[in-house]
Structures are given as C-alpha cells and as structure tokens.
Symmetry: C2
Subunit: 135 residues, 2 copies
C-alpha cells in the first residue's frame, strides 16, 4: 500500500547554490548529503517541516540527471511515494497494465528498496516507489 510522499526529487546544476536558495526560501535545513556513484549524482536532502526535498546534481554527462537538465532545464525531476513494499506495488501496477521502468525493486540510497514507474504511465511525471529500510 502507498502511504503518501517520501520525497520530491529536483534536478539542479549547482548543489551548494541550490541548497542556499532552498534554505533561504523555505527555512528548511540540510539533513543528509551523499554521492550515489551508480546514478552519477550528488544529493542533498532539505527537510522543510515534514517534507523532504532531494536536490540532485549530476556528477557526469552520462547521469540521468544530466540528460534531464540538458533536455528540460533544472526543475522537478520525480515524485517518490512511500510504500509498505516496493515489490508489492510494482507487482500490483504490472498486473494492472501500468508501464514500469523497474519490474524488480532494487537498492536505493540509505538502505531503501526502490523502483521507477515509466513517465508515460502517469502523463509525463516520473514516479518512484520507495520502501524504507526495515528495523
């Protein structure tokens, strides 16, 4: 079952500049920084009350985030939904004909299990399904 939002992912060109802009505009603060080598992104998570915004800077030109910025400019990249089980959601979607990028959940940041839905499934919005690490 989907419980709500896990985070919103935003593609940025300059991570320190984006962190400063978001902190000033929202009063939020950085609660996590990480480089995810597999995705070629550097990540800063801003906590704004109960909302987590994930700022994503590409670390190389073959990063999906680099390609996104080249095509559309910086901006909102994906919406991540919080699920009890990522695999159960992917299985449910597949059985209902929803087009997926990942049919099998895979490892995400901070010990999570994640999977992506194809943007064509929901009218141009990239959805991620996230299951928090157990325990």
């Amino acid at each position: 079952m989907i419980r709500g939002l896990n985070h919103i992912g935003i593609a940025v060109e300059n991570l320190d500049a984006a962190v400063a802009l978001w902190q000033t505009a929202t009063g939020g603060r950085v609660v996590h920084r990480e480089t995810v080598a597999e995705q070629r992104v550097e990540v800063a998570v801003i906590e704004i009350g109960s909302l987590h915004v994930e700022l994503l800077r590409p670390t190389s030109e073959d990063s999906p985030i680099f390609k996104f910025i080249a095509a559309r400019g910086p901006g909102i990249h994906h919406i991540a939904l919080q699920a009890d089980s990522t695999q159960a959601e992917l299985d449910r979607m597949k059985s209902q004909g929803v087009r997926l990028i990942d049919e099998t959940a895979r490892a995400g940041a901070e010990g999570t299990r994640v999977g992506f839905v194809h943007p064509k499934a929901v009218g141009g919005v990239l959805l991620e399904v996230v299951e928090a690490r157990k325990g």
Copy 2:
C-alpha cells in the same frame, strides 16, 4: 512557519484520462473536483495516503496551465507548501531577497490563502505557499 507539503500540482491535457491513470498507478482516489474560473483550470484532487496530488486541466488558452503545457508538455507544475500564515511567509521571503510572484496573499481554492514564489528563486521550481482556512 512552513509545516511541510500541502499538495503537488500537475498539468494535464485530459482530466478524466489523468484521473484514471493516477488512480490505477497509485491506488489513490478523487476527493475533490472544482473549476477555478479565475485561473481557467478544472481541478481534480487525488488522495494517495497522506499525499494530495492536484491535477490541473486548462479550460482556455489564456490559462497559465495551457501556457505551461504548450512550453514544456504535461507534467509537474508546482509544489505547494503548508504554512501557518501565507502572508508571514511572503513577508519573511521578501525581507530575505527571495523573488516573489505574489507579495500579498490572495484567495485560493477551498477558502485557502495562497501566494506564489517566483520559479527563479528556487532554480526552476514553482513554489506555492498555502494557509488552510481557519476553523
């Protein structure tokens, strides 16, 4: 103070089709429908656990949503933050040099008070500040 997310706004071309796609993909359901004449949009709100997604269909070619879709295609249009006081947030932002669309809070849907931050203030993301109706 900003408490977290109020909703995510998504620009769509066909509202019934978008509602069906979102319901199928997420298991969410429609909790509100409304036409906002002033903004020339028809709105359907999908509740997905604790997340509210606002699907926005332009009702005329001078709708901001029509222009957004013409320029970028359908997709995520804005992030709405939940505030104790929209005007207090706009005042705080202005005093810190954050570029605003609305310096004065105005009436939004369902009795809310809303204001928009300029997308240039936070790297290409349109932020809305929302204060729920009192009482």
